[in-house]
């Protein structure tokens, strides 16, 4: 579960005040809002890259306000994917697991499963250079999910993609939702994405978050029962 209670923060002349939102466990939340409305800032606050001046952030009931980003266990896919240029795709997917001292065999198995799920097996030996926009997003997704986080944050993953690639990424994101049961918060300005992916749709307007509704009305219980399929 992702839960923000009256979170405020200031960054230069820009500020967010009293943001409150909830994404239930295992649900796919979509946060909509116009450009520069502060959507990215909210994601950065959740994963700990930006400190908040007041309020409370809880992930799965645990208060994380004072925790370092490394300890929060949040998978983050930034807008430009931020693929590390100096290492191969395989290496950067392995990295979060190596940091946690996973056994070699477990790391290898995990990389194979993620590569299969996101259709990036053929990219594992490549470097960032020459990857297409869609490939970069899927690699970043595999990297963010590799250590089995319970919370996944995505920052406009579709924004720079053409229609075909976008369709492919929809497939990948649906696979993630079905197979991992991770609680996701997906930021976008596209109503289409929200309609296709969102269990919970939120809208950020004038510094306030409002729940729009849930078009699928997918029973949350069933999502949770599918969950843990790939969970570490």
């Amino acid at each position: 579960m992702i839960r923000l209670d009256s979170v405020s923060l200031t960054r230069g002349s820009f500020s967010l005040r009293e943001i409150t939102l909830t994404v239930p466990s295992g649900a796919y939340g979509v946060l909509m809002g116009s450009t520069a409305s502060g959507k990215t800032t909210i994601l950065e606050a959740i994963c700990g890259l930006r400190s908040i001046s007041s309020g409370k952030i809880r992930l799965d009931g645990r208060s994380v306000d004072l925790e370092d980003p490394a300890k929060r266990g949040v998978g983050f896919v930034p807008q430009d994917a931020a693929i590390f240029p100096t290492m191969t795709v395989r290496r950067q997917i392995e990295l979060p697991m190596r940091v946690r001292h996973w056994r070699r065999a477990r790391v290898r198995e995990r990389v194979e499963r993620l590569a299969d799920m996101l259709a990036i097996e053929h990219l594992l030996g490549r470097r960032a250079r020459g990857l297409s926009g869609g490939e970069r997003q899927r690699v970043a997704l595999a990297r963010a999910l590799s250590f089995g986080p319970t919370v996944l944050l995505l920052d406009e993953p579709m924004s720079a993609l053409d229609d075909d690639t976008r369709e492919q990424l929809y497939g990948s994101l649906e696979a993630v939702r079905e197979e991992t049961g991770v609680t996701a918060l997906h930021v976008t300005h596209s109503a289409n994405e929200a309609a296709r992916l969102g269990d919970v749709i939120l809208r950020l307007e004038d510094g306030h978050v409002r729940r729009v509704g849930s078009p699928h009305e997918r029973p949350l219980g069933s999502v949770q029962s599918i969950a843990r399929g790939i969970d570490a």
Binding site: L49, P69, F84, A144
Partner: protein
């Protein structure tokens, strides 16, 4: 990019002629030096014991100074590039000062520093610096570090901090993210900073003359040799040593280019 489009002809002509003019100037300068050098003086300097030792001392001190300069410059430049803190502007300005100071002033400052009570205490308790080999290294490090910081600063400014942010969300501490993500990305910059630090150290003269002296067989480095030979009218030998230095510098620049080329380009 190729230089073919006719519309851009004037532009290409002007940038090419400026580049060629400068390259030609450097070439002419080297050629003029070669004209003043004869084989006899080259062979006489190569067999001279004092000059052989000066060469060894020059290479050893410049390399050590380069390593020290990088160990200071990389963290300092990273700090200045990534963090906001009280006094940052002041530190930023201070680390540029050795670039602007006249070389003699750097040497004089160091000499005076080691005559202060603190400096004298250091020399009496630990080891002598003024007029000894440590003075050469210290004088080189002071100047080389300033240039290395400039280069590394530009490098870190160009590297997207987002990569480190993401690495931190993946479970890495700041230190580990720096080592595994940022430093490898900065590889070319590190090679460039190392090259400039080494070259500056090899060619440094003024501060060394004042702070380390020009003692034969003791604190004599190659620029000192040139000065000593020139000061006794041995123009031919001075030019011979100069040619030797040019050869060393070229060799080092080629090695650096090869190191940089094997790095990952972004």
């Amino acid at each position: 990019m190729t230089l073919s489009r006719p519309r851009d002809g004037l532009f290409h002509l002007s940038i090419m002629s400026l580049a060629l003019a400068y390259a030609l100037l450097v070439l002419l300068l080297l050629g003029a030096m070669a004209l003043r050098t004869d084989l006899a003086s080259i062979s006489s300097i190569l067999s001279d014991q004092a000059i052989r030792r000066a060469t060894l001392l020059s290479l050893t001190t410049s390399t050590l100074s380069m390593v020290i300069a990088l160990w200071i410059a990389v963290p300092t430049a990273y700090l200045l590039s990534r963090y906001e803190f009280f006094g940052r502007r002041l530190v930023d300005a201070l680390v540029d000062v050795p670039i602007a100071l006249p070389p003699l002033v750097v040497g004089l400052g160091l000499l005076i520093l080691f005559r202060t009570p603190a400096g004298a205490f250091f020399e009496s308790r630990l080891f002598a610096v003024s007029y000894e080999i440590p003075a050469i290294v210290l004088a080189q490090v002071v100047v080389a570090t300033a240039f290395a910081i400039r280069t590394m600063r530009a490098t870190f400014d160009q590297i997207d901090p987002r990569h480190e942010d993401v690495a931190r969300t993946l479970g890495m501490s700041r230190g580990r993210a720096f080592r595994t993500i940022t430093l490898p990305e900065a590889r070319k910059g590190v090679v460039a900073a190392g090259t400039i630090a080494w070259a500056r150290s090899l060619g440094e003269f003024g501060p060394i003359l004042v702070f380390a002296g020009a003692t034969r067989m003791k604190t004599e480095v190659l620029p000192t040799t040139i000065y000593l030979e020139l000061s006794t009218g041995e123009l031919g030998r001075a030019m011979g040593v100069a040619v030797l230095m040019v050869a060393l510098a070229l060799a080092a620049l080629i090695v650096a280019k090869l190191c940089g080329a094997t790095g990952v380009s972004r």
